[in-house]
């Protein structure tokens, strides 16, 4: 099945097939691949074609376009590092402490809580990362009340988040001293996050595209909503963007995953370029838009 353009063992795909796939991925996710990543692309494409039983690129592409059995999600997962771990995309956490929080506290009374939301939070790595990052990197952390909420549609993931038990791989980006401060080893390859941190994060169930569900969440200063909107279809993305808009206070910020841009999803938000990250902002009250 392999041809001169494909790596050994790969199914038959032509350069035109690859370009067609790459354009689809780009339009759908913003992730850009080109011919110089041919081997990388072919490997993942071959895996997905094998997994779906597609005998040809054409039949696989039809499956992909119709999103049968959530194939878009499977393909995107194959093309991204979909493993979740602590301090993932830490440039956004750096942006939070170096730029966002300073602006947020300017508009608040000292007693008003700073409210941060991680949705979807999966098994808790992100909200715990936010808490640890604040403890480690924000000198003002003890001067404010900070509320961190982690939400997900998957209640099994939320139960795991509450338990706070992780394998060693989830810690791969954490400095040794941070691990020592916030984790206790409970088995050879398992650690549990500090009880104080477990008590610091509120975990709740929420569905991003359910307006009545999302109506329970209001007044957040920062929302981390990473690597989920790319999986939604056009209608769901639009609804989710409006729901997130309502969950933020005026002037609040939303951080998306590296392959997502709100400008492709909704014009409701303004773009803010900081040294460490591009984030999106709900306009301040009184601004037209």
């Amino acid at each position: 099945m392999a041809d001169s353009e494909s790596p050994p063992g790969a199914v038959h795909v032509t350069q035109d097939d690859v370009r067609r796939l790459c354009e689809f991925i780009y339009r759908r996710t913003g992730m850009s691949f080109n011919d110089n990543k041919r081997y990388y692309i072919d490997r993942r494409l071959s895996e997905r074609m094998a997994a779906t039983g597609a005998g040809s690129f054409r039949s696989y592409f039809a499956t992909l376009r119709s999103d049968a059995n959530h194939e878009i999600e499977h393909l995107v997962n194959a093309f991204t590092v979909n493993e979740t771990y602590f301090y993932r995309e830490d440039h956004q956490l750096r942006c939070m402490t170096s730029d966002l929080l300073g602006r947020i506290v300017q508009g608040k009374k000292r007693e008003d809580p700073i409210r941060i939301w991680s949705i979807p939070c999966s098994t808790g790595e992100e909200p715990y990362s936010i808490a640890m990052w604040l403890m480690e990197n924000w000198p003002e952390v003890d001067s404010h009340n900070i509320e961190i909420v982690g939400s997900d549609i998957d209640t099994r993931a939320l139960n795991l988040a509450g338990a706070g038990i992780y394998g060693s791989r989830a810690l791969m980006r954490l400095p040794r001293d941070v691990i020592d401060r916030y984790f206790a080893r409970i088995e050879a390859d398992q650690v549990q996050i500090d009880a104080g941190l477990r008590d610091s994060v509120q975990f709740t169930r929420a569905n991003l595209i359910d307006a009545s569900d999302m109506a329970r969440y209001r007044g957040f200063d920062i929302v981390f909503c990473r690597n989920v909107l790319i999986y939604f279809d056009d209608a769901s993305r639009r609804i989710a963007a409006e729901n997130l808009y309502d969950c933020l206070r005026p002037g609040g910020y939303i951080c998306l995953g590296h392959s997502e841009t709100m400008s492709r999803i909704s014009p409701l938000f303004g773009v803010c370029r900081f040294a460490d990250a591009i984030v999106y902002q709900k306009p301040e009250a009184g601004h037209v838009g």
């Binding site: 941190l197 609804i239 409701l268």
Partner: protein
């Protein structure tokens, strides 16, 4: 630790939902936040299409207009599509863009309207309509786009359709593409786009 915990939904859970009638009233509120909330609340409600259509015609605040279009998109019936279609001709690029995005999310519902859009006298509308075909099933998209390029006189409309065919087309489109390339032989970018598209859609069967 400096962290506080509270149930984020506690306050909102006690709030009684507003009635449909009050949302209809709020669509005409002088307060843009009230209009935004009303539009959001009326999303997906068939009985609200007429009121949403009226509100959309009056609305000048972009984010509220977006919310009204999303509300109509969530209904997705013929009446809501007929409300959105005229905005494809808007002189306001933001309004056109919002309408196209809302309609793109309704590929099955929009399909019966495509022949009329492809016959529109405004070439910009025909170009935008090619994007509406992108989310159709491949065979259906191929059929309607080939029908368009067989008679279309405007090179840019053909180019837009060819670009969509490059992603979604099947090799049934090849004869129509070749004929289009011949008709626009003097407009270099059309034969070029056709050659790329044919290469992509005609060699994929192993």
């Amino acid at each position: 630790m400096p962290f506080v915990k509270r149930n984020p939904g506690a306050a909102a859970a006690d709030k009684k939902p507003d009635s449909l009638a009050s949302h209809f009233t709020d669509l005409g509120s002088p307060d843009e936040e009230g209009r935004w909330r009303a539009a959001r609340a009326l999303g997906g409600k068939v009985e609200a299409v007429s009121a949403l259509a009226g509100a959309l015609a009056r609305e000048r605040v972009p984010r509220v207009r977006e919310a009204i279009m999303t509300a109509l998109m969530r209904v997705g019936d013929d009446a809501s599509i007929l409300t959105l279609l005229p905005y494809l001709c808007s002189q306001d690029a933001g309004e056109r863009g919002a309408a196209i995005e809302a309609l793109q999310a309704l590929p099955e519902a929009i399909a019966p309207f495509l022949p009329k859009l492809f016959a529109d006298s405004d070439s910009d509308v025909r170009i935008l309509a090619t994007e509406l075909a992108r989310n159709l099933p491949a065979e259906e998209a191929t059929r309607v786009l080939c029908a368009l390029i067989q008679n279309e006189q405007h090179a840019n409309v053909c180019a837009a359709a060819i670009e969509v065919l490059a992603e979604v087309g099947t090799d049934d489109a090849v004869p129509a593409l070749q004929a289009c390339a011949e008709r626009f032989a003097g407009t270099a970018f059309v034969p070029f786009a056709v050659s790329i598209t044919i290469a992509r859609i005609s060699k994929t069967e192993s």
